[in-house]
């Protein structure tokens, strides 16, 4: 089966708005099954917003098809229950809840939470289960956030900068786990650490100012290094001095 | 008065009366009573013409909503549009500043339901209602005979009204040799067990309460639970009809049997023409009579007399009311010149429960205004 012909997630002309700003201006993107797709782009181009649009966390229009069904109009919790794990860029752990409670909250009804996997990857979380998540260090919070995303057996993982704030050793472990899970799970991730991106990416998508300008197999990243770099160094019209 | 405003002259063909009351708010019942009594009184005294000496009595009503700021604004605007009389206020915190306005602006203030002491003796233009406080009925409720060995415990709200009531009570019972203790509690009290236990420990012969409004029922329940009513006789006020049942129930069978209350107006007692008229007027207007209906009637009586005797001169109108006596549905009423305290009859009643479960006061004894006269403590200073 050719993954390109059977994408797990497909965005077609998706527009998203924040306040009065038009952030995504017609994003079209395919995320092939059982592959890692890395979304690249400068700060402020709309990578995070794209993920949030898939989850229904921002006002959006256009078509979003997940595993064959249109989810562009569904509510966030219904979308997520279809089998999506989300690791936000801000960590967004619940500071007032303990580490254990954070994980308990992430358990999906009817599913089998994979505590063994999570604790093996981040043993620290087990030791700190009774502590408030708000007392964790930045990196430890990132671990918790990743753990919440990995806890359930999801079909799709949306991961926004998974290695941000992690020590190099841990980055390595995370990469290995993601490689392992990629066999059964589909991953769409944003990653600024180029080493990580290179290692994991099967597919890439490059964003400039709210649209996808490049979307294809990662071999292009190596071959077309110049093109990709050219896109990536385009000053964003939103945050750049040019506006 | 500092200013002789043109307002008092008004239109020479009409007399303007401004009624300010809590049409909405805590004292809405009193406001409705007052209005009914006033209208009935005016109708009766002017034989339905609503004119005195050829001058029309024009009454306007305003809602103070229980707020002094609103009440004062209404008063000022009524004064500005030529009112000669202001009346109708139940809430003391509005009555006092409005009475001040009346003095400043050469307008006559007539009593509404407010029981504040500060109104008596304030000014030649201000007429107070002294019935609810400082009444001689207090000792009468305690019974005849030698009382010198008796003890009384007083419970009241810890502000001017409750404090004043105790002061006047004490002034009446000290000469009789009755020893008394006072228990003043914050108006916001909700649990009365502590005070009930204290009173129980004192084992007084009488327990006297001037409590009104929120907390009344808890107070009675607590006194009863501690068995105060088993050993002490209750004496106190009855205010609106709505509270009869709560008080009766709380007192319990034994407590209610012994309890004696004072009442400002006992419907049906005087049986005079005025009362008959008020009763039929109320029936016509589908109004349930209460203790403040005569307050309105009394205001009407004073207005009509003042206009007859004083013409258009405010000072003359006011002085015509000094020591004026009239017949009201309550009986004979006098406006005492020295301090402008309104002397009215008082009634001692018991509370009884009818077969249908409703509670009604039953007359024990009526006291005419003369017997109710208290010493003048705060005479009006006249230049």
């Amino acid at each position: 089966m050719n993954p390109d012909h059977d994408p797990l997630l497909e965005l077609d002309d998706v527009h998203a708005y924040l306040g009065e700003s038009h952030i995504l201006q017609g994003v079209s993107l395919t995320v092939p099954r059982h592959r890692v797709t890395v979304l690249l782009g400068r700060n402020g181009v709309g990578k995070t917003t794209t993920m949030r649009a898939v989850l229904g966390l921002v006002r959006r229009t256009g078509h979003i098809v997940f595993a064959g069904s249109e989810i562009g109009r569904e509510e966030t919790h219904d979308i997520v229950r279809r089998g999506i794990g989300y690791v936000p860029e801000d960590r967004d752990v619940f500071h007032g809840l303990t580490v254990g409670e954070n994980l308990r909250l992430a358990e999906r009804r009817g599913g089998r939470p994979r505590y063994d996997l999570v604790y093996e990857l981040f043993p620290e979380l087990k030791n700190r289960a009774k502590h408030l998540a708000g007392t964790l260090s930045g990196g430890q919070q990132q671990m918790l956030s990743l753990a919440r995303g990995l806890l359930n057996d999801n079909d799709l993982l949306l991961i926004d900068e998974p290695t941000k704030g992690l020590a190099p050793v841990v980055v390595r472990e995370v990469v290995e786990v993601l490689e392992r899970t990629a066999g059964q799970t589909t991953v769409l991730m944003v990653e600024q650490n180029l080493a990580v991106a290179r290692r994991l990416a099967d597919h890439i998508a490059v964003m400039v100012d709210g649209t996808i300008v490049l979307n294809g197999p990662a071999t292009r990243l190596a071959e077309d290094d110049e093109t990709v770099r050219a896109y990536l160094s385009v000053e964003s019209a939103v945050s750049g001095a040019g506006s | 008065a500092c200013s002789t405003s043109g307002s008092a002259q008004g239109g020479s063909d009409s007399v303007k009366v401004g009624v300010i009351s809590s049409i909405t708010g805590t004292y809405a019942v009193q406001a409705a009573d007052f209005r009914n009594g006033l209208e009935a009184g005016l109708n009766y005294l002017t034989k339905g013409t609503n004119t005195v000496n050829g001058r029309k009595i024009e009454v306007t009503y305003a809602d103070d909503t229980g707020k002094p700021a609103v009440g004062i604004a209404k008063a000022k605007s009524m004064i500005a549009s030529g009112a000669t009389f202001l009346t109708g206020i139940t809430d003391s915190s509005i009555a006092i500043p409005v009475a001040q306005q009346a003095v400043q602006n050469n307008v006559i203030y007539l009593p509404g339901g407010s029981a504040s002491y500060q109104l008596t003796g304030m000014s030649p233009l201000v007429f107070g209602n002294a019935n609810k406080n400082g009444s001689k009925i207090f000792p009468k409720l305690l019974g005849e005979g030698d009382l010198s060995s008796k003890r009384l415990a007083y419970v009241g709200q810890d502000y001017a009204y409750g404090q004043d009531t105790y002061t006047s009570l004490k002034a009446q019972i000290d000469p009789l040799g009755i020893k008394s203790t006072e228990h003043l509690l914050p108006t916001t009290t909700t649990n009365f067990t502590a005070v009930a236990a204290q009173i129980k420990a004192e084992n007084p012969d009488y327990i006297y309460s001037s409590w009104v409004g929120a907390g009344t029922d808890q107070l009675f329940a607590a006194l009863r639970a501690q068995g105060v009513f088993d050993t002490s006789q209750f004496v106190g006020y009855l205010i609106t009809r709505e509270t009869y049942a709560a008080i009766g129930q709380a007192l319990g069978p034994k407590g209610v049997e012994n309890a004696l209350f004072s009442l400002y107006y006992y419907p049906g007692f005087s049986g005079n023409d005025q009362e008959k008229f008020l009763i039929s007027w109320s029936a016509q207007h589908k109004h349930q009579m209460e203790y403040d209906d005569p307050t309105g009637w009394n205001a009407a009586a004073m207005i009509v007399h003042a206009v007859q005797a004083g013409g258009t001169d405010v000072k003359k109108m006011a002085s015509s009311l000094d020591d004026y006596t009239w017949t009201s549905p309550q009986g004979e009423v006098t406006m005492r010149a020295a301090d402008h305290a309104e002397l009215t009859p008082q009634f001692a009643v018991r509370l009884t429960q009818g077969a249908d479960g409703s509670w009604t006061p039953v007359l024990v004894k009526a006291y005419p205004a003369k017997e109710m006269e208290t010493p003048v403590t705060d005479p009006i200073k006249r230049q």
């Binding site: - | 200013s3 405003s5 809602d63 000022k76 500005a80 915190s93 006092i96 001040q100 810890d158 502000y159």
Partner: protein, 372 residues
């Protein structure tokens, strides 16, 4: 730019001049006011609205600009009122002495209460001020120092300057109230544009960040609290003159909540929003009963009449609708309208804020804030 700089003060000055002429205007009050604009009743209502508006502006400095939600701001207003009236009534102090001492008392109380309350965190600050105000309410309710309990205390009017006594002089009291409002407004407007005003807003946004930046936030908060409380005390004195009395209602929780409501109606964090909200609130409160007790309402069937006959109910409903549908308050509506008009004229939408102006009422989504 320069045109704006000239036009706005001119318009404001013109507005004030017009309001100052109100006592001589025989324009109909159109139901908003009890009578014609220049009538005594209307002047009294307007005067009350002005004083309350001045108070609301001082509260906006605290709550709208600095983010300090006090539930006891009425306390300082009441201290001004009670201090002034009680000094006049029970001491030989004259008018000016009483006024000055009353404001002095307010300042001392404000220093004590705020120095203590500001040590606590934000929500605790609300509660400590609530506790302080309740203690004062209890003290007044229980007639401490002759404060009169529920009756309040009235001004012995012989001690007032002759020009403030009697309804013929209502216009003087009106001007006094207007003067207070103009003074407070100008002062607040100016304060909010200064550097200190910017620090207050920074504290509202993120206090710890401001502290780490080098602002001793405690001192800044104390300064704004003192300014607001002192002005509230002055407003209290004027209110006492207007009312002829000190009124225990000023100490109640609902009075202080009323201030919050005014800011919401008008739009918090904007001086003229507070002004607008307070005026509308006061007018509604004074005028709704007239509507609800009108003959038209009395004739309605019970199910409609009962709700309509309760001004508090209508006020509550109006207020709920505002919170729900006009979160920027009246000021927000006006600003939106102005922006729409300007946009229709020229310039791209994003260009409205000039360099150095605060961003116009940005609503940062909750998720954008760091979870603390």
């Amino acid at each position: 730019m320069t045109v704006r700089k000239l036009v706005i003060p001119l318009v404001l000055a013109g507005g004030v001049a017009l309001l100052a002429c109100a006592p001589y205007l025989a324009v109909p009050g159109l139901g908003v006011l009890p009578d014609t604009v220049g009538s005594i009743g209307s002047l009294q209502v307007l005067g009350t609205a002005y004083v309350i508006a001045a108070l609301a502006i001082t509260y906006d400095l605290l709550m709208g600009y600095t983010g300090l939600v006090s539930f006891g701001h009425g306390m300082f207003f009441a201290l001004g009122s009670y201090g002034f009236v009680m000094l006049l009534a029970f001491t030989s102090a004259g008018f000016w002495t009483a006024a000055a001492v009353a404001v002095g008392i307010t300042v001392v109380a404000a220093v004590i209460v705020n120095a203590v309350a500001l040590r606590a965190s934000l929500i605790a600050y609300s509660m400590v001020t609530l506790a302080a105000a309740q203690l004062m309410a209890i003290a007044i309710g229980q007639n401490y120092l002759g404060s009169g309990g529920v009756d309040g205390v009235t001004i012995p009017f012989e001690k007032l300057p002759a020009g403030l006594v009697g309804i013929v002089n209502t216009k003087h009291v009106y001007w006094l109230a207007l003067g207070l409002l103009v003074l407070t407004f100008v002062l607040a407007r100016w304060l909010t544009t200064t550097r200190i005003g910017h620090v207050w807003r920074a504290i509202r946004e993120n206090e710890l960040r401001a502290e780490v930046m080098g602002f001793t936030t405690y001192t800044y908060k104390l300064v704004v609290a003192l300014i607001a409380s002192t002005l509230a005390g002055v407003a209290g004195v004027v209110y006492a003159i207007l009312l002829g009395a000190a009124d225990p209602g000023e100490t109640s929780l609902s009075f202080s909540i009323g201030l919050v409501i005014m800011l919401i109606l008008g739009g918090r964090g904007r001086v003229w929003g507070a002004l607008l909200g307070a005026v509308v609130y006061t007018l509604l409160q004074q005028r709704l009963p007239a509507i609800t007790s009108s003959a038209g309402v009395a004739a309605l069937p019970d199910a409609i009449r009962i709700p309509l006959a309760q001004p508090q109910l209508l006020l509550g409903v109006v207020f709920i609708l505002f919170v729900l549908f006009l979160p920027g308050g009246l000021a927000g509506v006006v600003e939106k309208a102005i922006r729409a008009v300007r946009r229709g004229g020229s310039g791209p939408p994003g260009d409205a804020a000039a360099d150095g102006e605060f961003a116009a009422a940005v609503r940062v989504p909750a998720s954008a804030e760091p979870t603390r």
